[in-house]
């Protein structure tokens, strides 16, 4: 009692996606797949170099390719794919007007111009500063300006999404917003609030400093602003995968959404607890008060709650659907899952990878224990499970239906089979590469390092076998990337014409109605900002007041 309930929208939220819309959404996805190919090639080269059996030709520097890899896969591929997917979900559930579409094209081109500027500086060797661009390493100003344009373009895209929901709500007063649109709005809010941090660092600190207008830069402030953005960034990658898990997977397995309210609550909790936690990337940073590190570590651990809520809800969807189909026993329901459908299998492997991925994350964030893994290749192994497996395999799983849906083609049984092979190749390659990274990381092998014998120390000689294993895994992964590109090109240009379903599940028939307070956006934003102010104000003032002198730019050992 007491809690106002929302009316359900007309049961199936399914608007047709028109040709011009498709072209817009596909443009984002095209950039994502071009990035996959380029970035994947760099990944392969990195593992080969680190095996000690291969040297980069033409004087190309290791940090140049590592910067390409990190920027193009971590920042470009993810952001473009996510925006394309966001728009597809919004178009399907709340619709898009012609004007909104035009503004989104503007956002797309601003982002593309920025991406080309940044990519060019990196390829010319003028920005070998890695995707974190830590000061005092200095890149060419065009690198930072390009990044700023990408961020600004992505904001415009996000504003359009908010406008889409706003217009829809005006037309449907008192009706609960479609779950998909709710989730997209949370993720774009998360992205906007978080990227204000890097935008500030780039616009106020890096651009004037790289242009020579400011002589020095406050290194700790810039790193703190980066990680204020850097952790929510990983949730910005992850939440679209969760959207697919909550909305799409139930439909593909022939089931219903377990609980609309639980899904909304978990997204709200991710919004709250993914931003005020950036210090967990700075646990070894001198100059940050340990008390505040501890407080942010505690806040970090809060995301365990929505994560396990998600795990519970997924298992429940599987079990309820299986039992309805008549599979009994404790785990009998496992058998009904559509293992031969790549739209299910690829994201499912992604879910499995998130179990060790999440466990690793908890270890990384455990304040003192972070010292065991900090700056070791364990960390690289960790995020190749989370982003490069969980997120990427789910995105591949989305691609198998979204791309043919948008291009008016069909996922043929043959392409489905190739997709399954692709998912298996990825799993094998990543188990080898990420497994080797985890183990040798615990032995102290550093990340972000080219091949070195470290002056012949005995400890370093223990690492080399694992580096060879990483090269084997990396080669298998690269084959997986080539196969995925082939499938993508097929689905985009060559697969037979037809109609592919846009699978969005519905709620259980007798589900409890969703409480109205979920539509209280002002409340969610206010709590988010309050948590950020709580976690950052005092330590940030402390950082500024007690800063050491700023640093002049360095172009060496890496930079430009």
């Amino acid at each position: 009692m007491g809690i106002a309930k929302l009316e359900d929208a007309k049961s199936s939220q399914s608007l047709p996606i028109t040709k011009p819309e498709s072209r817009l959404y596909m443009s984002f996805i095209h950039v994502a797949f071009i990035s996959l190919l380029i970035g994947g090639l760099m990944g392969l080269l990195q593992t080969l170099v680190r095996s000690g059996k291969f040297e980069l030709p033409w004087g190309i520097d290791y940090y140049q390719i590592l910067t390409v890899h990190g920027v193009i896969l971590g920042l470009v591929l993810t952001t473009y794919f996510i925006i394309g997917f966001h728009f597809a979900l919004m178009g399907k559930t709340v619709g898009i007007s012609e004007k909104q579409r035009k503004v989104t094209w503007l956002a797309f081109w601003v982002m593309v111009v920025g991406t080309i500027m940044t990519a060019t500086t990196i390829l010319l060797g003028e920005a070998s500063v890695l995707y974190t661009f830590y000061a005092p390493l200095r890149a060419h100003p065009a690198f930072y300006i390009g990044l700023a344009l990408v961020i600004i373009g992505s904001w415009v895209a996000g504003f359009v999404n908010w406008r889409q929901l706003y217009v829809w709500k005006k037309q449907n007063p008192g009706v609960k917003s479609p779950l998909a649109a709710f989730m997209v709005t949370i993720n774009t809010l998360l992205w906007f609030i978080a990227s204000l941090g890097v935008a500030a660092a780039v616009l106020i600190q890096f651009i004037p400093w790289s242009l020579g207008y400011a002589e020095t830069i406050n290194v700790l402030v810039s790193r703190t602003l980066f990680w204020y953005f850097g952790h929510p960034l990983v949730y910005f990658w992850l939440l679209p995968a969760y959207m697919a898990w909550y909305l799409v997977i139930p439909k593909i397995i022939g089931g219903k959404i377990f609980s609309d309210s639980l899904a909304r609550m978990s997204f709200v909790l991710f919004l709250f607890f993914s931003i005020p936690v950036g210090f967990h990337h700075q646990l070894t940073e001198p100059g940050v008060d340990p008390t505040w590190k501890f407080i942010q570590v505690v806040l970090t651990f809060m995301v365990v709650i929505p994560s396990l809520m998600t795990a519970f809800s997924l298992f429940a969807t599987f079990e309820i659907t299986g039992r309805k189909k008549g599979y009994g026993g404790l785990f009998g329901w496992f058998k009904h899952l559509p293992w031969k459908d790549v739209r299910f299998l690829a994201p499912f492997i992604g879910m499995l990878a998130f179990i060790p991925g999440g466990a690793g994350g908890i270890i990384n964030a455990s304040h003192q224990m972070n010292a065991v893994v900090h700056n070791t290749i364990w960390v690289t192994g960790h995020f190749h499970l989370t982003v490069a497996t969980t997120v990427i395999l789910t995105f591949f799983g989305i691609t198998y239906w979204l791309v043919p849906h948008l291009t008016g083609r069909k996922l043929t049984p043959q392409l489905n089979k190739l997709g399954i092979v692709q998912a298996i190749i990825w799993t094998v390659g990543m188990t080898i590469m990420s497994g080797a990274m985890h183990i040798v990381g615990l032995f102290g092998a550093p990340r972000r390092s080219s091949y070195s014998e470290y002056g012949g120390t005995e400890q370093a000689s223990e690492w080399i076998g694992y580096q060879l294993a990483q090269a084997v895994g990396g080669t298998i992964l690269f084959i997986g990337i080539l196969l995925m590109i082939y499938i993508f090109v097929k689905l985009t240009f060559f697969a037979p014409k037809g109609e592919e379903e846009f699978p969005i599940a519905e709620e259980e028939e007798d589900a409890e109605p969703t409480p109205a307070f979920f539509e209280n956006w002002k409340l969610w934003i206010a709590i988010t900002i309050a948590l950020i102010l709580f976690a950052y104000t005092i330590p940030f003032v402390d950082i500024i007041q007690n800063s050491p002198p700023g640093s002049k730019p360095f172009d060496f050992p890496i930079g430009r």
């Binding site: 009316e7 795990a311 298992f315 039992r323 893994v373």
Partner: protein, 47 residues
Amino acid sequence: MSNLQEKKTDPNQKKEPELKGTLISVFLVGAFIVISWIGVFVLFISR
């Protein structure tokens, strides 16, 4: 335009779905997390 459908059943009569497998699965995930954590914690202590 309003769309007040009669779909609410009596909540007391609703049969709760059987979710034993789900419960055990989530416990297994939790156990995996705890075991991994302890593993690295032991390493941390022993170094």
